[in-house]
């Protein structure tokens, strides 16, 4: 049994496998299928200062090896999270991390302040990369200056581990990563979904109510892997890799590319137990290759 512990800022993970925001509910939805405390962390559904109804149906289109979504941050707001969800999840023995989103910098600050007061939430993931909202979201994460501004503002009020989730819909993701690192981020997670589109040829209409949506699933993995590799070389803070991971081998590839930890997203829909299978798979890989710790594997890709 290899040592699977890793650290993200002050956050200690029992293993590098976590589940991505928006794909794992509040964790509770999956507790019929396995002991969810066995994974390193759970990023709960995107949370905003106010209640959001999200976009109109249809919000989803299946694609080859993936899917487009246009949910648009549907959630009941941070106060509901604190009063109704937090009591149910606070004692789950893993890192419960809140994904925080907003339309304005003030929204991000207000939401982050409230989550900062929750003792059993050790970290937030600042979502500056949602492609499915009209205001805010990805608009912050596609420009170095605005990305740095929102991160710096939240950094002032948020005193625990601050992870910033980056958008792949940019010319150079490493520039954005360096900006948020300078602004005080403890880690970056990447990638959020890729902006895409689906058309119904018979009806001559877009499939999604929002016309465009975010692409995820195994089809995005090569893009995500490339961006994680580039970013891990560009920043000193830990990188959390995600995008299309659907088995332990994918997870190992992200770690070799420089990810300290990984998140599993869309594949939770296909196999609700995939995350714990990936934990077991990583462990077997480490034993088979005689690595004492998963830390020994981070970024050791041999390019020569």
């Amino acid at each position: 049994m290899a040592n699977l512990n890793v650290n993200i800022g002050n956050l200690q993970l029992k293993n590098p496998v976590m589940t991505a925001s928006g794909t794992f509910g509040y964790g509770l939805e999956f507790s019929d299928f396995f002991d969810i405390s066995k994974i390193g962390g759970i990023f709960v559904k995107g949370t905003t200062i106010h209640h959001r109804e999200g976009n109109f149906y249809p919000r989803m289109a299946e694609t080859p090896s993936g899917m487009l979504n246009a949910v648009g941050l549907q959630n009941k707001g941070v106060d509901y999270f604190i009063s109704d969800i937090y009591p149910q999840i606070k004692d789950i023995d893993t890192n419960m991390i809140v994904n925080v989103s907003g339309s304005t910098i003030e929204d991000y600050i207000a939401c982050a302040e409230k989550v900062n007061d929750l003792p059993q939430i050790p970290a937030i993931e600042l979502n500056i990369s949602c492609p499915n909202v009209k205001k805010g979201g990805m608009a912050f994460g596609t420009n170095c200056q605005s990305a740095a501004e929102v991160v710096a503002a939240v950094r002032k009020v948020y005193h625990k581990t601050l992870i910033v989730k980056l958008s792949p819909n940019v010319t150079d993701i490493t520039e954005i990563a360096r900006s948020v690192e300078s602004a005080g981020a403890d880690a970056v997670s990447l990638i959020n979904t890729l902006l895409g589109m689906a058309i119904d040829a018979e009806k001559r209409k877009p499939i999604l109510s929002t016309i465009t949506g975010g692409l995820s699933g195994p089809c995005v993995k090569p893009v995500a892997l490339r961006m994680v590799w580039q970013t891990a070389k560009a920043v000193k803070i830990p990188v959390i890799g995600l995008g299309g991971i659907s088995n332990w081998k994918d997870a190992i590839e992200f770690i070799l590319a420089g990810a300290t930890a990984i998140q599993i997203g869309t594949y939770n829909f296909i196999d609700p137990t995939i995350s714990v299978k990936v934990v077991d798979g990583i462990n077997e890989y480490l034993d088979r290759h005689s690595f004492a710790s998963v830390k020994d594997l981070i970024g050791v890709l041999e390019c020569n």
Partner: protein, 260 residues
């Protein structure tokens, strides 16, 4: 209600029609409790075009043979692969999912319960009818299809209640749509349950509202996870967006915001 992620064995796969198959699944231990209106998410193997599981409503549960029945309409590559499954093949399911139809807890077993199904929407009506029959009710089925050959499982429906049919070409039952059937002139039903194409359900809802009959519809919104995690399958209701996979698929028409 506990959900299971389980492999089941195909006990038979019967092609009822060029576009429909009846998949019967079993396992060594008794199948869990399931309720009419609930559905399964079935994994499709060896179909590169099919990434997501396919949500399929529970057609019938045979407790004697320990079988779960799924009536599958062949629409695309995924359902075609399911139609090719053979006896002894293994399929992976997440189930049972969603809520279920409300059933009167009443001593009055003479209540007139009308079950309206169109196309593959007849599938959950069979399971509902069987349950109502077991509870002592005499359900009335109104089933619609394009032609007589598209009316499936009629001998099963007849075991559980009275059956009325419509076909668009008049080859069986009354000619036209279910919502034009003469039985609806009676207007004395205590409850209507319906599942089928959206235009059909809209007509049924319109009828139920006009004469003030309680009515539940089973929705078929496109979905991904089936367990309330992805929030893709939402229906707009008077309470806001609800997940059809978790807070549905059965919705009382009082909650719907359909423009009738």
């Amino acid at each position: 209600m506990k959900k299971y992620l389980t492999d089941l064995v195909v006990s038979s796969n019967e092609r009822l029609h060029p576009n429909y198959c009846l998949l019967r699944l079993t396992q060594n231990v008794p199948l869990p409790e399931m309720f009419p209106g609930q559905f399964v998410e079935i994994k499709v193997e060896n179909s590169p075009a099919t990434f997501l599981r396919r949500p399929i409503s529970i057609n019938y549960v045979d407790r004697i043979k320990n079988e779960l029945w799924l009536l599958i309409q062949i629409v695309g590559d995924g359902t075609r692969k399911l139609s090719e499954l053979k006896e002894g093949d293994i399929v992976n399911l997440i189930y049972p999912l969603g809520n279920s139809f409300s059933i009167f807890d009443s001593q009055d077993k003479d209540k007139k319960l009308l079950l309206i199904g169109g196309g593959v929407g007849t599938a959950p009506m069979l399971f509902l009818g069987s349950k109502l029959k077991t509870l002592g009710y005499s359900p009335i089925f109104l089933l619609g299809a394009r032609t007589s050959s598209d009316l499936l499982q009629l001998e099963m429906f007849l075991q559980f209640g009275t059956v009325y049919t419509t076909t668009e070409d008049g080859s069986q039952g009354e000619k036209g749509y279910v919502t034009n059937h003469s039985i609806l002139k009676k207007r004395d039903f205590d409850m209507i349950y319906t599942c089928g194409p959206k235009p059909m359900m809209v007509s049924v809802v319109n009828y139920a509202k006009q004469i003030g009959i309680s009515c539940e519809v089973s929705l078929e919104n496109t979905m991904a996870c089936g367990i309330g995690a992805c929030l893709c399958c939402v229906e707009n209701t008077i309470e806001g967006h609800i997940c059809v996979c978790k807070e549905g698929p059965v919705v009382n028409i009082q909650k719907l915001t359909w423009q009738i």
